[in-house]
């Protein structure tokens, strides 16, 4: 109970990942969908850092580094696309994006 091991961190990471998945499945607003994807990426980051610490290996921390870089570029491109969509259609709901006309 008092000794925090690797499994504690993996369970926490799984709980956060499940919360993120619930968010992805129940959100309709695309901006809030992006929030849920950020939660997914962060939960995986915790697992990487914990494994890196308990196995004495730096590879996990480097992967966290790259995951953060990918998350930042995802936000930039995603928000740009959302702005273009909002200028054209006036809303960012998923239901209005079911057709793929250009």
């Amino acid at each position: 109970m008092m000794e925090i091991g690797l499994n504690h961190y993996l369970v926490l990471s799984t709980i956060l990942f499940a919360i993120g998945l619930i968010g992805v499945m129940r959100r309709k607003n695309l901006l809030l969908l992006f929030f849920a994807t950020e939660i997914l990426l962060n939960s995986v980051n915790i697992a990487f850092a914990a494994i890196s610490h308990y196995y004495g290996d730096l590879t996990g921390q480097l992967f966290v580094f790259f995951v953060i870089a990918i998350a930042a570029s995802e936000v930039a491109v995603g928000l740009g696309l959302l702005i273009v969509w909002h200028k054209r259609h006036g809303n960012i709901d998923l239901d209005h994006m079911s057709t793929m006309r250009g």
Binding site: V11, R26, A69
Partner: protein, 191 residues
């Protein structure tokens, strides 16, 4: 002792904040709870001895990403209540639980077989940032450069997508020009 207290405290706070993020109907509450959760996650990095990552987490997420999202919220008029999908709840929660179990299996499989060896072990007598730099600029130099190019591409894409027609200022135009621009905009925005 203190590690356990800190772990449980921050685990509870992070879970609570992210739960608020995915369940609230106010976009502003979701944004604030997400920012708080990001900062609480950096506490785990500090507990785990990854000081550099903790600092990066605070700077990148609470600084850059949250600023971008705040800008997006101002742009998209998300002050109204967010309607949610009303799908079959049992399917949604069942899929969530199955996916979560899958994640546990993925992480537990290498631990059960117990064949993980440290590829780049931590160096004695060096700080965390120094260790990371030593591995990053030797073994992971090419992925580092590729990530830099990817960030450059993302920046250019953001400017190209969001900066279209931003040279027009509505305050400096006359009413007739604004109406003309609006007609043109509704006709075609993406060329």
């Amino acid at each position: 002792m203190f590690e356990a207290i800190a772990f449980y405290l921050f685990a509870f706070l992070t879970t609570l904040m992210f739960f608020i993020t995915v369940t609230t109907s106010q976009a502003l509450h979701a944004l604030t709870a997400l920012a708080a959760g990001m900062i609480f996650i950096s506490a785990f990095f500090f507990i785990l001895g990854a000081d550099f990552l903790g600092a990066i987490q605070i700077v990148v997420y609470s600084g850059a990403v949250m600023a971008l999202y705040a800008f997006g919220m101002m742009f998209f008029d998300t002050t109204r209540e967010v309607k949610e999908k009303n799908g079959n709840k049992y399917i949604v929660f069942g899929l969530s639980i199955i996916s979560a179990v899958l994640v546990v299996v993925i992480f537990a499989a290498p631990i059960v077989t117990n064949n993980i060896k440290a590829l780049y072990p931590m160096v004695k007598g060096a700080g965390n940032t120094q260790e990371l730099g030593m591995v990053l600029f030797t073994k992971y130099l090419v992925p580092f450069e590729v990530a830099a190019v990817m960030l450059l591409v993302a920046m250019i894409a953001g400017i190209v997508l969001a900066g279209k027609k931003m040279d027009l200022s509505l305050t400096l135009m006359s009413d007739a020009e604004i109406i003309d621009a609006k007609k043109e905009k509704t006709k075609k925005v993406l060329q």
